[in-house]
Amino acid sequence: MRADRKVGIVGWGVYVPKWRIKSEELARGWGRDWNRYAAGIMVEEKSVPGIDEDTFTIAYEASVNALKRARLDASLLRAVYVGTESKPYAVKTTATMLIDALGAGGNGRLTTGADYEFACKAGTEAMQSVIGLVGSGMIEYGLAVGADTAQGAPGDALEYTAAAGGAAYIIGPAERSVAIIEASLSHVTDTPDFWRRQHERYPAHTRAFTGEPAYFKHIVTAARELMSLMGTGPEDYDYAVFHQPNGKYPLRVGTRLGFTPDKLKPGLITPYIGNTYSGSALVGLAAVLDQAKPGQRILVVSFGSGAGSDAFHIEVGDGIEEVQGLAPKTLDYVSRKEYVDYTTYARYRRMIRMLHDFSAY
């Protein structure tokens, strides 16, 4: 898909909570030996949202960082979309709170706003929508966020990777952008690999569908179709970023598509903070933009269970180096950390309930 008018990334920002729990500690909590799982998961520690953090607070700080890099007043935003599968409210749009906190749309709050849900690719789905609005000339600037405080059931394999964090992107016209989104492409099918029913606290997943029929099929199809559209091959890209449910899959899918590990590693963040779900591929892209140079090309392919992938061909433009240092970088947040034990983790994730706690939920 290509917009009528060229659009690009005007600014980007990330946020990752400071708390971490080691995979070894998670395994210990359930009497398991982490060494048996380490090679299959390749995530040594994951981020844990603080007791007062959720998708809105994560989206807010990532968006503030994106606005700093964009050198843009929030009042000029005319679309604010938050992609997440951990909405603070089942019904009350996270975007309403984000719009008011940022002052988007000016004093009249003249902006569209919505939450997107598509498992781990809700953030890139939000980005597709903003690209469409800017590309058609309906708006000048829009904000797309992917953020989550992911749920992994206690003792489940997902508990090793379900993490918290997010990334925000301000999309605008090419002449104001530091990276041009030349084209995008989406691929979606009905694949029952992972879901969460209404009122359930934790998702269910089916081992047989997780790998080949879901993650690999959708990412490979979207990536190959986009490269075919652009007439490019893996050798034409300087970086490739894929959705990162663990540390192993993105390396494997990248290798299968013909990318060398040196093109994959700069955007591979999950081994250090876990899977930030809707934030996952977008946090990886932010880490790449933090160090990218003019003229470089980036391929980004997200994946969301259910299932589908969004692929983007991005070309880094002049001026990116001027804005890289205007807000904290991805690795600043990755290296800002303090470890918690399983008890503190359980409390922060509200897995433990107090006897007299009026704020429990």
Binding site: G50, D52, E53, T57, P328, F358
Partner: protein, 136 residues
């Protein structure tokens, strides 16, 4: 009824201050407050303008809360601090991302937006400014 024990109108009225640190500045004597006041508490003037307060400041003094009021129990122990913002405005705020024994008078802090109070399973989630030690 349970969902509404936290005043919804009060929550809504306080959003500009809580989300965006919108305070008041007296056009006559220059005194600043958070939230904005109808009447300047220093000179009595009603000539008040709304301003965005700076998002950085220093801890003037603080207290550790072990026995919290209703709705804040889950967050204990937490720190409330008197903070002097860069323009001299003094405000009360919770501190976050910090252990009580790490807090010091004069500590440089910056504003973040965090969850402050949750009205049970079905009520509102209140968010507000809190301050954390500066990242850089």
């Amino acid at each position: 009824m349970w969902a509404y024990w936290q005043s919804v109108p009060a929550h809504w009225r306080e959003l500009p201050a809580r989300y965006r640190l919108e305070g008041g500045k007296c056009r006559d004597c220059g005194h600043t407050t958070l939230p904005d006041e109808m009447v300047c508490p220093v000179c009595g003037s009603k000539n008040i303008e709304r301003i965005n307060l700076p998002r950085r400041g220093k801890v003037v003094n603080y207290s550790v809360i072990w026995n919290a009021p209703r709705g804040y129990e889950y967050y204990t122990p937490y720190v409330v601090a008197l903070i002097e913002l860069e323009d001299g405005t003094r405000i009360f705020s919770q501190l976050t991302d910090v252990h009580p024994d790490e807090v010091r008078e004069g500590m440089e802090v910056e504003m973040v937006l965090r969850k402050t109070r949750v009205s049970g399973e079905s009520g509102l989630i209140a968010y507000s400014y809190k301050f954390r030690p500066v990242m850089d």
